[in-house]
Structures are given as structure tokens and as C-alpha cells.
Amino acid sequence: MHEMGIAYSVLAAVRTEAKRHPGQAPRKIGVRIGELAALDPEALRFCFEAITRDTDMEALQLEIEICPFRYRCLDCGHQFIVQDYQCQCPQCGSLKTDCIGGQELELTYLEVEEYGASTAGAKNTQ
């Protein structure tokens, strides 16, 4: 259960990025979480809501993109989603494959909006 720590890291990143956009309010933060990242998206959402509630970040939405466990074949270049840990290339049968996805713990984007542009942020601008 380290979702709370991750939630704080996401929020800290939002605050840092928000400073580069004076006069604009952060509205949505996108994160990418790999299936193998050992992180529960629902627990992260819960923690994120808990730490933003009744703060200037209350209107900030969290969008989570889940990334599948993916491999790339080093022989034929085929990329495939791994099911039941079968890492063998389904196209050419090669065992020389490399993990290319599933470990993500990344920030993808931040959406910012002029203060007062939507009612969602009205509370924050008071």
C-alpha cells in the first residue's frame, strides 16, 4: 500500500508544473500505470481524492491509463501483449524477447485552464 505516497508525488508534480502556467488552474492530470507496476489504480484514485479534497486542487481530475504487459520480439520485431506470462513470440516462436511495457508509473499530461473559465474551478478562485 504505497498508493498514498504515489498520490503525493503526482500532486507535487502538478504543483511544480502549475507554477509554469501562471493564471491557469490545473484541471486534469494524466498518469500511466503498467499492469506490473504493483499499484492499484482504485487505491490511487481514493488516495488522490483524499489529499485534494477541500484544497485548492479539489477540482483536479486524475485520469489513469492502464498499460498492458508487453514484449517485443528481438528476432522478428513483433510486439505482443503477454498473457499468462507467455513471453515467447507468438509470430515466429523466438524466445529472444524483451519487455517493453507493463512497468509504467508515468505522468503523461496536465490540462490547465484560465482561472474562471469553467464553473468547476469557481470554488478555487474565491
Binding site: 502556467h21 506490473l36 504493483a38 506470462y85 513471453c87 508509473l105 496536465l110
Partner: protein, 226 residues
């Protein structure tokens, strides 16, 4: 609404510190290992056996993490190597900053080996890079042989699986071959050693693995220097 691309890791601050630590370890030719397991799998026992098997003048140090108490550090201090307890006060994993802080008053030039015992947990420690050269996961035979499938992340990221408490195999319904198979299903080619920290059985395999890694780390440094 304006969308600003970020494309960076959530734990970029941890990763930055871990990268600095890794560079410092490499500069000093230190092999750093991060030991991870469930609570009670035998990380501290494995360390006791390891320290007991190494010569007194060996250049190694241990950082041991727990939520509370200095118990593990006290167990390990009797081997006369530098040992420091990291008490997290509730946090279920170690992070790179804790390592950096606890290394502050140790001279890295006096070390060849740094063993880090993480907090007992198979989930969260997998996400935090500590600057180690390799993660080592410990699984004991009183647990389920399907643990690699239940907690794939840590088995995927670890170079070595230490199957511990093999002295108990006659008394528990643990299929050691199935456990090894499950680990290699998640992480093909993973190294596996089978040990008993109680009887000492199999420990030479672990010590050999450790010795090989230490020699490899030294060669790495020599190549960088030359």
C-alpha cells in the same frame, strides 16, 4: 483548456537520487544488493549467515529497514561490520532518499559491498529504485509456491530468487519445483538458489552467486577506469 505534455516518471525524484547513488556505488566499486521478501521469509537470517561466512576484514556494510524497532540491526551488529537500522515509522518500503541519508556518515571508499534489507513486503519495494545493482527476492517454503504469480512485479525485477527454509520441506506441502517454475514463468532465466539458514544447507550456492557478482562489479569498475 490547454494540454501540456509531461512524459516523465511519477517517481522521478526517487529515480534521480537512485541514479546518483548508483553512480557513486559504481565509482567506488561497490556491489549494492536490495533484499526483498514478505515479512518472516528470512532476510535477516540470510544476512546473519552471510556476515558469519565473510572474513572480519571484508569491506561491507548493511542497511536494514523496518517499520519499527532496532531489532534487526542489533542481530546483525554482533558480526562487527557496520550496520545501520532504517526505521521508516510506518512506510512500507525503503526509498532512495532514506538510503542516501543513512549512508551520509559512511566512507564509501572503505566498502566493496552494501547489503540493503528492505521492509518485509512483496509489493511496494518493487516500485522504488534504491540505486542497487540487483534486487534479490527471498521466498520461504512456508509460503505459497504461487507467490511469483501473485506478486509478479518483484519476481520480474529480481535477478535472484533465494528459496529459504528448505529444512522444512518434509513438513510442509510446498512444491519447490513448482515454485521455481512459477518464478521462471514470470522471469525466464532467473537465478535460483535453495537454502536453509537454519542448517546452512545450500548456502554455499548463495555465497558463490554473491562472490561472482562482486567480482563482476570489480571488473566493471576496472573497465570504466582503464
Amino acid at each position: 483548456m490547454e494540454r501540456v505534455p509531461l512524459e516523465r516518471k511519477i517517481l522521478s525524484e526517487n529515480d534521480r537520487i537512485a541514479a546518483e547513488l548508483r553512480a557513486r556505488f559504481q565509482e567506488h566499486g561497490i556491489l549494492c544488493l536490495n533484499l526483498i521478501s514478505s515479512p518472516g521469509s528470512g532476510k535477516t537470517s540470510l544476512l546473519e549467515r552471510t556476515l558469519g561466512n565473510l572474513p572480519r576484514h571484508d569491506r561491507l556494510a548493511v542497511l536494514t529497514g523496518d517499520i519499527q524497532t532496532e531489532n534487526d540491526a542489533n542481530r546483525l551488529k554482533r558480526f562487527h561490520f557496520p550496520v545501520k537500522q532504517i526505521t521508516t515509522g510506518g512506510t512500507c518500503h525503503l526509498d532512495a532518499r532514506m538510503i542516501e541519508r543513512h549512508l551520509a556518515d559512511w566512507k564509501l571508499e572503505d566498502l566493496d559491498l552494501l547489503l540493503i534489507e528492505n521492509v518485509g513486503n512483496l509489493v511496494c519495494p518493487a516500485s522504488y529504485d534504491l540505486g542497487e545493482a540487483a534486487k534479490v527476492v527471498v521466498l520461504s517454503v512456508t509460503e505459497g509456491e504461487d507467490k511469483p504469480l501473485k506478486y509478479p512485479s518483484i519476481f520480474f525485477k529480481s535477478d535472484l530468487l533465494v528459496l529459504n527454509k528448505i529444512d522444512l520441506l518434509p513438513y510442509v506441502p510446498f512444491d519447490i519445483n513448482a515454485a521455481a517454475e512459477n518464478a521462471r514463468k514470470v522471469h525466464p532465466g532467473m537465478d535460483i538458489v535453495k537454502v536453509s539458514c537454519l542448517t546452512g544447507n545450500g548456502l554455499h550456492e548463495w555465497m558463490m552467486w554473491l562472490g561472482q557478482r562482486r567480482r563482476a562489479q570489480k571488473l566493471l569498475v576496472q573497465e570504466t577506469v582503464s
